[in-house]
């Protein structure tokens, strides 16, 4: 679990740096093209990513509960 966490953290940090660098050129183009429609898409993606991260946390809690339940 710790391992996965570390990997996710590293990858996301890496991606953030990439996005920051690319912002001046590519990503600005991407989000300004076609009347900024991609901003709408990105907002929806952010919304659901946060919601899903929360769901995964709930899922982990339920798994722990199940484990405790079986051990009894």
């Amino acid at each position: 679990m710790e391992f996965i966490k570390k990997i996710v953290l590293t990858v996301s940090l890496f991606l953030t740096t990439l996005m920051c660098n690319a912002e001046a050129t590519e990503s600005r183009d991407l989000f300004f093209r076609s009347g900024k429609y991609n901003v709408v898409v990105a907002v929806l993606v952010i919304l659901f990513i946060i919601l899903f991260v929360y769901l995964f946390r709930l899922d982990r809690k339920v798994s722990n509960l199940e484990k405790d339940h079986r051990e009894k």
Binding site: K36, V40, I50, L58
Partner: protein, 359 residues
């Protein structure tokens, strides 16, 4: 079928959110005026302006027949309406020629005028604050330059469902349906948490504390969702992820308060004490939060968000109420989803607690 009775509202919430996502992403954004060149004209002699539109589809009307091309244009200066002749340049550009006119004034003045465009397909749309008009004094002229009444704009309704066009927002006006409901959800969930805290102090039941905590967590989640989406949206419209805006600060402080609430809970050992002290903090925090979001916008003289300061409100730019038919279901749907998330969190927390008590 009996089972359905207990979760019908969750289905309703999912359907409402799906509807708002579908409608919010697929419906068109209506026409609007992006730019007028030149932005300063002299009204006493004939003048020509070029209007750059957005989503205007002028090519539709390119049959420049003798009767004109189907695109009507007016210049509105205070109470005066002047008819112009249009020539379509391309899909998003139209050239408008106006005859010079005189006004009854004593001094030269320069004022902001509104451009009114109209066609069969889109109906009427406006561009205000984009053109300034200078008029020289003329004491002999009459005020009334209105052309004959049959040339007034008349097609107020659009023939298709569309969101209003807003300056610099373009397509991102759709985000109103996804970003703004988060704020409503946060307020609702925190209010539910507040009510459960009061009930806990009144009855001393541990269950109510678990409910209060679950809904506070869910409220925090939706607060973070609102801030994250808001920052992203702001970055591509206002050019900066964080402005000193009243609504933004209100949401941020709300999130801070409930992060403090979570830390408070984790820093007490005794379980009864956790419940009691955190309930007291919650009952303190929520009214102050409400005061904050009522007071803050009133102090700000300018806000980028609608409904505060001198920024225009909802009713000013949603002329045909199309935005509302998506926005209100979205708010309701997300509130239901929020309550569902809060309830799930609470149920799991409760199971955890029971497991602890039993072992």
């Amino acid at each position: 079928m009996n089972k359905f009775k207990s979760y019908w509202w969750k289905v309703l919430g999912v359907l409402l959110v799906l509807y708002s996502v579908y409608r919010g992403t697929s419906a068109k954004v209506g026409p609007g005026i992006v730019q007028v060149t030149p932005d300063l004209v002299h009204a006493n002699s004939d003048f020509e302006i070029t209007v750059e539109g957005y989503n205007t589809h002028f090519d539709h009307f390119l049959v420049n027949s003798a009767k004109g091309n189907g695109v009507g244009a007016w210049l509105k200066l205070d109470t005066i309406l002047v008819l112009g002749r249009t020539t379509i340049l391309d899909d998003n550009h139209v050239k408008i020629a106006f005859d010079g006119f005189d006004l009854k004034t004593d001094t030269t003045f320069t004022r902001s005028a509104t451009i009114v465009l109209e066609d069969d397909h889109h109906g009427l749309f406006l561009g205000s604050q984009m053109l300034r008009v200078t008029v020289d004094p003329d004491s002999l002229a009459s005020q009334d330059v209105l052309t004959s009444t049959k040339n007034l704009p008349y097609k107020l309704d659009q023939t298709y469902f569309s969101f209003p066009y807003r300056y610099i927002l373009y397509e991102t006006i759709r985000n109103l349906n996804f970003h703004v409901p988060m704020w409503f959800v946060m307020m609702t969930l925190l209010f539910i948490s507040f009510v459960f805290s009061i009930r806990h102090l009144n009855t001393k039941k541990a269950l109510y504390d678990i409910w209060a905590n679950g809904f506070a967590k869910a409220g925090l989640l939706f607060g973070l969702m609102g801030i994250a989406t808001g920052m992203f949206w702001a970055n591509y419209t206002w050019g900066t992820p964080w402005t000193n805006d009243a609504k933004l600060n209100g949401a941020a402080v709300g999130v801070l308060m409930y992060i403090a609430y979570q830390i408070l809970r984790s820093s007490i050992d005794d379980e009864d004490m956790v419940a009691r002290v955190s309930a007291v903090y919650n009952i303190f925090a929520y009214p102050i939060f409400i005061v904050l979001i009522i007071v803050l916008p009133r102090l700000a003289d300018f806000s980028l968000h609608p409904g505060a300061g001198d920024s225009v409100g909802f009713s000013n730019y949603d002329l045909n109420n199309h935005l509302r038919t998506v926005f209100y279901p979205a708010v309701l749907g997300w509130i239901v989803i929020g309550v569902w998330v809060g309830q799930l969190t609470t149920r799991i927390d409760r199971l955890e607690k029971e497991e602890e008590w039993n072992s």
